[in-house]
Symmetry: C2
Subunit: 156 residues, 2 copies
């Protein structure tokens, strides 16, 4: 297998811009993630892949809750707050407003949309684990985090 070609392909895929948030008792955290997708219609399930190395991994395992916050295109500064560092060292929520979701996960006030999820299954997948979450609450302020709406409409 041509490794460079494989890397090119994987880095070229479409990704939504997402911050996964969770809460375990008093501890809240959020991390940028790229690997989240719908995996069932009824019930509506979202599956996310998390590395056991991430601080949020253990929080989600213990709390069984996570929320997916979809970040607007023009708020890439939010990615800077939640990527590149660990919640073990810093309080990532210090400079951003949030409210508590139905399950207790923090929801970023500036998220374009969010999906509030309860974990129903955890599966193994190589160096990540798959968290299958049932969507129990959802809302949006805008849909401007979508990158290829025009394209998808035409393809439908």
């Amino acid at each position: 297998m041509n490794e460079q070609k494989l890397i090119d392909i994987m880095s070229t895929k479409n990704y939504d811009l997402i911050v996964l948030t969770t809460r375990l008792n008093g501890a809240i955290n959020g991390i940028t993630i790229a690997w989240a997708m719908q995996t069932s219609i009824k019930p509506l399930l979202m599956t996310v892949a998390l590395s056991p190395k991430r601080f949020s991994y253990n929080l989600v395992v213990e709390s069984n809750i996570f929320a997916l916050n979809y970040i607007p295109k023009d708020r890439k500064d939010i990615i800077g707050l939640f990527g590149y560092k660990s919640g073990r060292q810093v309080n990532k929520f210090e400079n951003i407003e949030y409210f508590e979701s139905q399950t207790g996960s923090p929801i970023l006030k500036d998220a374009a949309a969010y999906l509030d999820c309860k974990v129903v299954d955890i599966y193994h997948s190589g160096d990540h684990d798959l968290f299958v979450g049932e969507v129990v609450e959802a809302d949006y302020k805008s849909l401007d985090w979508f990158q290829s709406r025009d394209f998808k409409k035409k393809a439908a």
Copy 2:
């Protein structure tokens, strides 16, 4: 939960344009899918969600192989060949060229890129099942199926 808002969010997510192909002995088939994502770096795993109702579901369960064919933006006609009908009734490959991958899955000659996968695990997820596949071969002719490269480069 506001069901309409939930539908709006789910229909607004980013998706790659993918035809999943597989082979069981002499039977080949391909279906358009929206739910496929990377779920491990080492080994490199791709997870796809398939409904047991799909003809390809049983083929993949039996053969343990599938390939992901990424369709170029300007070849939406290919989606027409592989969506909206079942391989039980028609030979979807009648009017399109393909070659055999390393594992045996058919690869569309006009795919921009493909990932050839061997199933390593199958998990339950509501009305779909998750097929975790190890990428054993990959190649591309172009990367023009990517919708938001400019955006992602800036966000990185």
